[in-house]
Symmetry: C2
Subunit: 252 residues, 2 copies
């Protein structure tokens, strides 16, 4: 009998509200154990950017933000809070598009996304969260902490929901990676008919971030998901492997 190829996506529920300085690795390891799904060899973790940012103190009180003249001018044009625009500009390397109330920028990490990852959801009313300063470093630190506490070397994906051109709706994608080969390459591989495969690079890290999202949701308070039972390729490449080389990108 054929053996099905399968994996499981398991949300970790019951985590407390995360605050600056919290030991996120410990809370995750304990949360997994408490709900009866302690870590196992072969597990991979998808962690929402929001709790990583909170644990790293990347939440800003808007009352502390003084907008620059440039931010004030753009805010008027966009109909946005000038303090938010100021934060977005601080997080950005350049503005990609500005239209219809939307500010699409390239962040200092190289991600192209709306509002530079500055987000007011799931933080206090007069606050906004920023992306982690270095989400790959955050992923690596979490991976090491989880390994120390649980004995399991689980790759970690730090994820956020981004929009994209052409297609409606956001999807969860990887913005920080440790321990996982982010791209699966079929370069030079041939199919059974002998064709060299054309679509050779699969963004497995983004697909797994997406796989986690339906369990995480926006309001479910499930900021961490275990991917269990999947045969993935380990590696030490970071999320930079998902940044398209500008010279290969027809849309910059």
């Amino acid at each position: 009998m054929a053996v099905p190829s399968r994996y499981e996506v398991i949300g970790i529920v019951g985590l407390p509200e995360i605050r600056n300085g919290d030991d996120l690795g410990r809370l995750i390891v304990e949360g997994a154990a408490v709900q009866g799904t302690p870590f196992r060899d072969g597990d991979l973790l998808v962690v929402s950017q929001k709790i990583v940012s909170k644990s790293e103190g990347r939440v800003i009180r808007l009352v502390d933000v003084i907008p620059s003249p440039a931010a004030l001018a753009m805010a008027r044009e966009l109909g946005k809070d000038a303090r938010l625009v100021e934060l977005i500009l601080r997080e950005s390397r350049r503005v990609v598009r500005m239209d219809k109330g939307v500010l699409i920028v390239e962040t200092h990490h190289g991600w192209i996304c709306a509002n530079g990852g500055v987000d007011q959801s799931n933080v206090d009313l007069d606050a906004a969260s920023l992306l982690p300063e270095d989400p790959d470093r955050s992923a690596q630190a979490l991976r090491e902490r989880v390994r120390r506490l649980s004995g399991v070397d689980a790759p970690v994906i730090v994820s956020d929901t981004f929009g994209r051109p052409w297609r409606e709706g956001l999807t969860n994608v990887a913005i920080g990676i440790a321990g996982l080969q982010p791209i699966r390459s079929y370069l030079g591989a041939r199919d059974p008919a002998g064709h060299t495969l054309q679509a050779t690079l699969l963004a497995i890290a983004d697909e797994l971030a997406g796989a986690a999202e339906p369990v995480m949701g926006k309001l479910n308070r499930v900021p961490v998901t275990i991917i269990r039972g999947l045969a993935f390729e380990r590696g030490e490449d970071t999320s930079k492997a998902l940044l398209r080389d500008p010279t290969r990108d027809l849309f910059r």
Copy 2:
């Protein structure tokens, strides 16, 4: 004790090579049963475009394709087989970008993708496969066939791997949908702090297509995947819900 929120991704292995006119629904229902994972209420299916196209006879022998003068000229510029370019142009509403050997088009369905979905992998050497003519109709037909044979009304996603701007690597996305609400909307929802959520539309159908891909792979011969145990929203919207309204798309 908290109850984890979880779902499973189960590949269906052992399907035969699919040919024009095959009863795909029967093969899938039987394949799921044979491997010990017969359909259950609440299951959702992700089916690779390739086997749908094959079962619908959407495989073209290149020897039968006569390139137009326009295709010949573009093929020279791109360094591509003129018969492939001819097929791509027939599948397209317009050319979006043509550069560096890549032809990005908007298909008649409205999808923006490389080569209009015309693909030579996993077909005979002198052939190319086209996308299904109406992938939503294909999904609906498969859903009805599976329901008739198994008694389970499983929503169906027909998927293909597409590239995207800005990020490296392809991801599997939904190009045909039946029975699933493709977009999860948080419109008007508030988070615990009282913020109205900014990121209100999640492309759940694309995320689930992506979740299926790591099991499907390109060479695994796993063209069908069951999503089991996930609480998703049923609905009769089609994949058209994932086409971004051009007036809302800053990148056309």
